[in-house]
């Protein structure tokens, strides 16, 4: 299915959740959705007979600057061999996104990484703890305004 067909199908199924659809003029077409509907949209994408998006290729946490964080989902269908990209934006002071770890099990570790490095909290995640940084680290390194702490457990941090 072409990106236009996929986004039309989604729009008919979830009319109020689609915030933006961009297909022309970009290298990779994407669909921006509202965070509250993410769980339902993911289940629909995975289980619908025509779509069958069963392979979550990549889940990236983003810091868009200007006080917003975001998540980008690149999803692929092994059977139909088509792709879709979803984007989500949340404000930085209330960065909560529903977790899709129970929809695509691979999202478990990806979401832990997004939480660890960008600071987005995933609701209903089975095991949300830091994955790359030490468990008691403060701060989220990939945020644009991140300041390297002076000391960590008594050791000097800046090299």
């Amino acid at each position: 299915m072409t990106p236009q067909e996929i986004s039309d199908k989604l729009k008919t199924q979830f009319p109020d959740s689609i915030l933006e659809i961009k297909i022309e003029g970009v290298v990779d077409p994407y669909i921006k959705v509202a965070p509250e509907y993410l769980k339902d949209i993911s289940v629909y994408l995975r289980d619908n007979v025509d779509l069958q998006f069963d392979y979550l290729m990549c889940l990236s946490g983003m810091d868009y600057g200007k006080g917003t964080l975001g998540v980008v989902y690149n999803i692929f269908s092994m059977k139909k061999k088509h792709k879709v990209n979803l984007k989500i934006e949340v404000p930085k002071d209330k960065a909560e996104v529903p977790s899709v770890a129970l929809v695509w099990q691979t999202a478990n570790w990806h979401e832990r990484e997004a939480y660890d490095l960008v600071g987005i909290k995933f609701l209903d995640h089975p095991d949300l703890r830091r994955i790359m940084m030490p468990d008691d680290w403060e701060g989220h390194p990939l945020q644009k305004d991140y300041k390297v702490p002076e000391l960590y457990q008594g050791m000097k941090v800046p090299y």
Partner: protein
């Protein structure tokens, strides 16, 4: 069994462990975890009840570094150091992503050389994977034979770009150096030399009775679990899923060559066991040799640096491009904000995703099997942690 008082032992996820179970740490420093990986094993005698992987010991946050670079080309050495055993594949993925973002096309000669280098790198990486896997299982000799052959490939790389392990060879829009005179003949000699060696490895290791007993029916990964956990590369193909990015999500000029993706068929046990994953790698080496020979015969003349842009300033936007590295699907999600330096570069590493499947497939096995399973997933910590 009478109720025994609970002990103080708690795993790092907070699960409290009864007295019959022991928490064993296959620590960051261990000969078989292929790097600084910590596997927390909850064992009952020799049987493993749970495996909790802890990563991040090699985390260098190259993604933060990439944002500070003044030029997209400067990110390429960082990308090399992600999977240091298959650096050419990493380069390939990243430059394809940025070239797609820029919308530029590279000359034909560059395409052919890139494919040759990527496939030679795949052979070298699988030699490490198979050799160290034999070492984990206890067979010391195939490791040295495979490294002897890997030296020849590294000689070829050194002839071209001067480096044996971390190349910085593929640049955005082209390559850093053209092939040396004599490379093509030496590479053809290597292909002729290497084919009988695969038979030697099969005789010594693959069909060895003890090796089969250690790896068949161990760590069985069903196909649906593999897809749900987004495994890729030999791990996915070993579970019987006939999916190879070079054929199914095509990039570069792979469609011009005749080769077959190798799939695990459960010859020695269930489909998706460690032996299948290992054998997929051995057979892939032969297919890569085919591709290299065909490419060497068809390679055209031309320039390799003519399309390299002087200033790389893509339009604002993002792209996700994935290629088939030796260990699986390496994807780069590159976001540009219109300036000369990248806004965000995310490396989706195959080993990071493949490693997440370890708790699923290792319950109920013994400690010795954990070593076999971790070896068959072929992880390189540089890529897992980035």
């Amino acid at each position: 069994m009478t109720e025994l008082p609970t002990t103080q032992t708690k795993t790092s996820t907070g699960r409290s462990v009864r007295t019959e179970e022991m928490v064993l740490n296959m620590g960051p420093q261990h000969p078989s975890t292929h790097g600084v990986l910590r596997l927390e094993l909850v064992v009952d005698g020799e049987i493993v009840i749970d495996v909790i992987p802890h990563i991040g010991y090699l985390h260098r946050c190259f993604e933060k570094h990439a944002e500070k670079m003044t030029n997209y080309q400067q990110v390429i050495p960082y990308v090399d150091r992600m999977d240091y055993c298959a650096a050419m594949n990493m380069d390939f993925g990243y430059v394809l992503a940025v070239e797609k973002l820029l919308g530029i096309k590279v000359p034909e000669r560059v395409e052919y050389i890139r494919v040759i280098m990527a496939e030679l790198q795949r052979i070298a990486s699988h030699l490490i994977a198979a050799g160290t896997y034999g070492l984990d299982i206890g067979a010391f000799t195939p490791f040295l034979y495979m490294f002897r052959d890997r030296e020849r490939i590294l000689d070829l790389f050194e002839m071209t770009c001067g480096a044996r392990l971390l190349y910085n060879y593929m640049w955005i829009g082209g390559l850093s150096h053209d092939l040396s005179p004599g490379f093509i003949d030496k590479a053809k000699d290597f292909c002729k030399y290497f084919r009988p060696k695969i038979k030697e490895y099969n005789d010594l290791l693959s069909y060895n009775e003890i090796f089969i007993k250690r790896t068949a029916n161990v760590g069985v990964l069903p196909a649906d679990v593999a897809i749900a956990y987004a495994c890729s590369g030999p791990v996915l193909r070993g579970s019987g899923v006939n999916f190879d990015l070079r054929r199914d999500d095509p990039y570069s000029i792979y469609h011009r060559f005749e080769w077959e993706p190798q799939v695990g068929m459960g010859e020695m046990g269930k489909v998706g066991d460690c032996w299948d994953r290992y054998m997929v790698r051995i057979r892939e080496m032969e297919q890569s040799t085919n591709i290299v020979e065909q490419a060497l015969n068809q390679i055209p003349d031309g320039e390799v640096t003519s399309a390299i842009p002087k200033r790389i300033r893509p339009n604002p936007g993002d792209v996700y491009v994935r290629t088939e590295s030796a260990r699986g699907e390496i994807g780069f999600y590159v976001v540009s904000d219109g300036s000369g330096s990248p806004y965000r570069v995310k490396g989706r590493s195959p080993c990071f995703v493949n490693l997440s499947v370890i708790p699923e497939i290792s319950r109920g096995h013994m400690i010795a099997d954990i070593v076999a399973i971790a070896g068959s997933l072929d992880i390189v910590l540089g890529e897992v942690d980035r």
